[in-house]
């Protein structure tokens, strides 16, 4: 096989709770340090210890980050999943397994190469204690993989030193031993590196390797959020954990050593929602982070915040629904719920980041929008964006930034007024003026979720009630131009539009590039905010066929577009992938091919992919060979 540097995918199958996570991270980071674009997907179970778990690494010089469905190298450390793991190996690929025990006959495949290393034996010889042996096995394995892929050994050693440093000297030693053990073993027995290999590049000089939840947490800190209320739920928990950790580093008052933030672990999601509403009302930039089930529980409070016009920010790190669903799998199933959450007539501003970079950026914007429009704002991320490590341009901050507090009247302003009316449309933009408690007697008003007129007085009069509700509608519609504009990429010869959202970006854009190689071109639009701006409608109206790609069963983005973009639904066709794994380019291509009746084109060299995928959307006839890498 011809060498294929910096363009392949590998998958590591282990058992969770055995320390494989850190070993996987080590591998990812070392590739990143070699300056090569890389992406990792952690496919883990909703359990703490003892079940199968996988880590997928894609190395792609061109910077494609989408998940792949076939792998060139599979590291099978968990006998329980051998069969499945071997099945996902691309023809001509390599299987690395623990040869301490013979591999069952029936698992053999003639079209792939089996590489056995007696990991268990080696560890038993070299290390004492069951736990240690289990942990070190992963490191030994990393050593082998490093050798096979030609990863710069020094980088690995440096990384280990950085992680353990002087304090954990003994651990460091053990890790060194293990790494060497694996590296040497492979170096001596196999001709390393394999045709698939890492070759140093300079692509990451200005990049970082970070997950979306951490980036969002940093965004909250930089936006000046001072109150966070939360309740643990996968995959949103790490956002608050990162926020907490960084507040203890960046939000400590030198003098007193105390915190310039209040982070409250609430008893449940109803309470955390209530807390951010209360804090927003009192004048703080407040947020909560949760996942679908949490939003369901917050539904009543969301309606209150909408109607009482209280700024607050909700992060919904989506996971697979409905109900408890699959807590450790990704999906975009809350698009409709967040847009309309709560009873009665409500509509909410939503932002849809595509990666950690936008998580950081949109987090900041979310607070500005919430205060400017005095309403709840949702940031819809998902498990893939939030919990996986992504290579993104280093996050930067513009010190000139000042928060948009919106129309808040201070003491001086109030002093000069004869009377203040909370819900009056003074400027004709539907946005009333707001006062904060404790500022000035003249600013006092009564906030309520019950019927009120523009003066803030309780009412049961139809016209007084409607006047306020209609103004709120105007206000929210006005946000269309304030939310992040759609990302649009046009191609002169494009025949169709491809419309998508959030984390689908990588898979869809890669699909577009690969279709381009087949001479089929698409215009691209990624929705980044709701309410939809003019541009969204323009793009769709300008094309007969707009294929909407999203990760849910019911085409929720397409539905929202049909309802709110004021476009002809007939121009929208749907492609959905919602099994819970990040979107892959080949998955998109399969469906698009089927939709447009395109021939199954040969995949460009180097991308190992197959056409297996969710039954209902795959051209059943597609021969398995078609997409297998050369």
């Amino acid at each position: 096989m011809a060498t294929r540097a910096n363009d392949f995918a590998l998958k590591i199958g282990t058992v969770n709770g055995t320390g494989s996570a850190s070993a996987n991270g080590l591998l990812m980071q070392s590739i990143f340090r070699m300056g090569v674009p890389v992406s990792g997907k952690n496919v883990f179970p909703s359990n703490i210890q003892g079940l199968p778990t996988w880590y997928e690494i894609r190395v792609n010089a061109a910077g494609h980050v989408a998940r792949t469905r076939r792998f060139d190298l599979v590291v099978a450390m968990n006998p329980e999943t051998y069969a499945r793991d071997i099945g996902e190996l691309a023809t001509g690929g390599w299987l690395l397994y623990d040869s301490s025990w013979p591999l069952a006959r029936e698992l053999k495949r003639s079209d792939v190469n089996f590489v056995g290393v007696p990991f268990a034996e080696m560890c038993v010889k070299r290390f004492k204690g069951g736990r240690k042996r289990i942990l070190m096995k992963n490191i030994v394995c990393t050593g082998v993989v490093a050798a096979l892929l030609g990863i710069d050994f020094e980088i690995i050693r440096t990384l280990l030193e950085e992680t353990f440093g002087e304090k954990k000297r003994h651990l460091l030693e053990a890790n060194f031993t293990a790494i060497d053990l694996g590296f040497d073993y492979a170096a001596q027995r196999f001709d390393c590196p394999l045709p698939i290999r890492i070759e140093a590049m300079e692509a990451n000089r200005d990049s970082v390797l970070i997950d979306g939840n951490t980036a969002a947490a940093l965004g909250c800190i930089y936006a000046g959020a001072t109150v966070a209320a939360w309740y643990p739920i996968t995959p949103s928990t790490s956002l608050i954990e990162a926020f907490t950790a960084y507040c203890h580093r960046l939000r400590v008052d030198e003098a007193s050593g105390k915190l310039k933030v209040a982070i409250i672990q609430a008893e449940d999601e109803l309470a955390s929602a209530g807390m951010v509403v209360g804090a927003g009302w009192a004048g703080a930039r407040a947020f909560t982070s949760t996942s679908g089930a949490g939003i369901s529980l917050m539904t009543e409070f969301i309606g209150l915040a909408y109607y009482a016009e209280v700024p607050c920010v909700f992060f919904d790190i989506e996971r697979v629904g409905p109900s408890t669903g699959m807590p450790t799998r990704t999906q975009q199933g809350d698009i409709l719920m967040c847009a309309y959450a709560s009873h009665g007539d409500t509509k909410h501003i939503c932002l849809y980041p595509k990666d950690p970079a936008e998580c950081f950026d949109f987090a900041v914007r979310a607070f500005d929008l919430a205060e400017r429009f005095q309403t709840p704002v949702f940031v819809l991320s998902d498990l893939d964006i939030g919990m996986n490590d992504w290579v993104i341009p280093r996050l930067r901050w513009e010190d000139g930034y000042r928060p948009d507090r919106g129309k808040v009247l201070d003491a001086a302003a109030l002093e000069g007024m004869d009377a203040f009316y909370r819900f009056m449309d003074v400027d004709g933009d539907g946005i009333p003026y707001r006062t904060l408690p404790g500022v000035h007697p003249k600013g006092a008003y009564f906030t309520r979720g019950s019927g009120h007129d523009k003066y803030g007085k309780y009412t049961e009069d139809e016209e007084e009630y409607q006047e306020v509700l209609d103004r709120i509608a105007v206000k929210i519609d006005g946000a269309a131009d304030a939310v992040p504009a759609p990302e649009i990429r046009l191609h002169p010869d494009a025949g169709y539009g491809l419309v998508t959202i959030g984390g689908c970006d990588g898979g869809v854009r890669e699909a577009i590039e690969r279709f381009a190689e087949e001479g089929v071109h698409f215009d691209y639009m990624r929705i980044r905010g709701f309410p939809f701006s003019e541009e969204v409608a323009k793009f769709i109206e300008a094309r007969e066929v707009n294929i909407v790609v999203e990760q849910n069963r019911d085409a929720q983005l397409l539905s929202l577009l049909a309802l709110e973009a004021g476009v002809d639904k007939g121009r929208l066709v749907s492609v959905r992938r919602y099994g819970g794994l990040p979107l892959s380019a080949s998955g998109v291509m399969d469906s698009v091919r089927e939709l447009l009746g395109l021939p199954a084109g040969a995949a460009p060299a180097g991308i190992a992919e197959d056409s297996k995928g969710p039954a209902e959307e795959t051209p059943s006839g597609a021969p398995d060979s078609v997409e297998v890498g050369a």
């Binding site: 930089y222 001072t226 960084y246 915190l259 310039k260 703080a284 407040a286 404790g438 600013g443 309780y458």
Partner: protein, 357 residues
């Protein structure tokens, strides 16, 4: 809650407090509750207490849920911000507001349905969090606003207006508070303003959640014979466990009895509050220690079992540490910290980024 502004006729006679405000300045819009509703008396007690404490009106935040009782936050202190939120969730809204601005005086008014039925979880956790909040439950044993169904505070055997007896054990907010580690627990009666006002004042000054359960009869749905939350029943069974007076630092003169460790009837005991003010407890016959959590619990249980309604400032923990002390937040209200002190700036972000390379 319809807003009918009161005619603010000028009364030269109206007494002014230290900051020059009359009780009128602490009033709200005209109540729309039923004539004779206990809640209106509680409102009156609140006005009196706030006036006596000379609270700057705009530094007070009135929090409530939903119910006739929760409506009352509109009936006092029009010059204060008020947040009439959703049913049973006032505690969380108050927690968030308090987290954002610890310097305001938070007055929460709720009902037995709002706090003990739908809101029970939030009440319990708010007590555990001990946020600095006066938490008044206007307890009438029924859902007034929805026309008189039993609430979780209805006593066993209490009869509904239609004569149907309740058979589920009631939740006594005071016992609940004691068993969950609350730092201030009291019970009053809307019919006894003299007892209630000092309790409210002490509760406002208490650095933590001050739970005040006020028996506040619903004249429309639960003031009949057979009710255990009626005016008549409460008056008859009413028992003062211990008397409490609230003393400002300036008004405080150590009492002679102070030395007497023994608390015989009439004996006095002063408990110092964090701000230098005092609560002076006077024995009423029972040997009663308002700082002994378990002792108070047993006392209340006994009296209740005996069919009485034990009242007074029943328990206070002088060591109370509020939410912010536990969270370790800065003294200054978070809302007062300028953005420049909150945003770490470009450089800091740059060094953070280093750890992601």
């Amino acid at each position: 809650m319809t807003h009918i502004a009161k005619p603010r006729v000028f009364h030269p006679g109206l007494e002014k407090n230290e900051i020059g405000l009359t009780q009128r300045d602490y009033e709200g819009v005209v109540s729309t509750l039923c004539a004779g509703c206990g809640h209106d008396s509680v409102t009156g007690a609140l006005v009196e207490a706030a006036w006596e404490l000379a609270l700057p009106t705009h530094r007070v935040a009135k929090m409530s849920g939903i119910g006739c009782s929760s409506k009352t936050t509109a009936y006092f202190m029009s010059q204060s911000h008020g947040f009439n939120s959703v049913h049973g969730r006032m505690p969380s809204v108050a927690s968030g507001a308090n987290a954002a601005n610890r310097d305001l005086v938070y007055i929460g008014v709720s009902g037995d349905g709002d706090s003990l039925s739908i809101g029970l979880g939030q009440l319990c956790h708010a007590m555990r969090r001990n946020l600095n909040l006066l938490y008044l439950i206007e307890n009438n044993g029924v859902y007034g606003l929805t026309k008189g169904q039993f609430s979780a505070s209805a006593d066993v055997g209490a009869k509904s207006k239609r004569g149907v007896p309740n058979e589920q054990p009631p939740i006594d907010p005071v016992l609940l508070a004691l068993s969950l580690g609350a730092t201030f627990a009291a019970r009053g009666f809307s019919g006894d303003r003299k007892q209630l006002v000092p309790i409210i004042k002490a509760g406002i000054r208490h650095p933590g959640l001050a739970l005040v359960d006020v028996i506040s009869p619903c004249v429309t749905f639960n003031d009949h014979v057979g009710s255990t939350k009626s005016y008549a029943y409460t008056r008859e069974r009413f028992r003062t466990a211990v008397e409490a007076a609230f003393l400002e630092p300036k008004d405080f003169v150590p009492s002679a009895d102070e030395i007497t460790a023994e608390l015989e009837p009439g004996g006095v005991r002063d408990v110092r509050m964090h701000d230098g003010s005092f609560v002076r407890f006077r024995q009423t016959g029972d040997d009663y220690d308002p700082t002994d959590r378990d002792g108070v619990y047993s006392y209340v249980r006994e009296r209740v079992e005996a069919g009485e309604v034990p009242t007074g400032l029943l328990f206070i923990d002088p060591e109370s540490r509020d939410l912010h002390e536990v969270l370790g937040t800065v003294e200054r209200p978070l809302v007062d910290i300028p953005f420049t002190e909150l945003c770490p700036g470009a450089e800091a972000l740059d060094s953070v980024m280093e750890s992601y390379r």
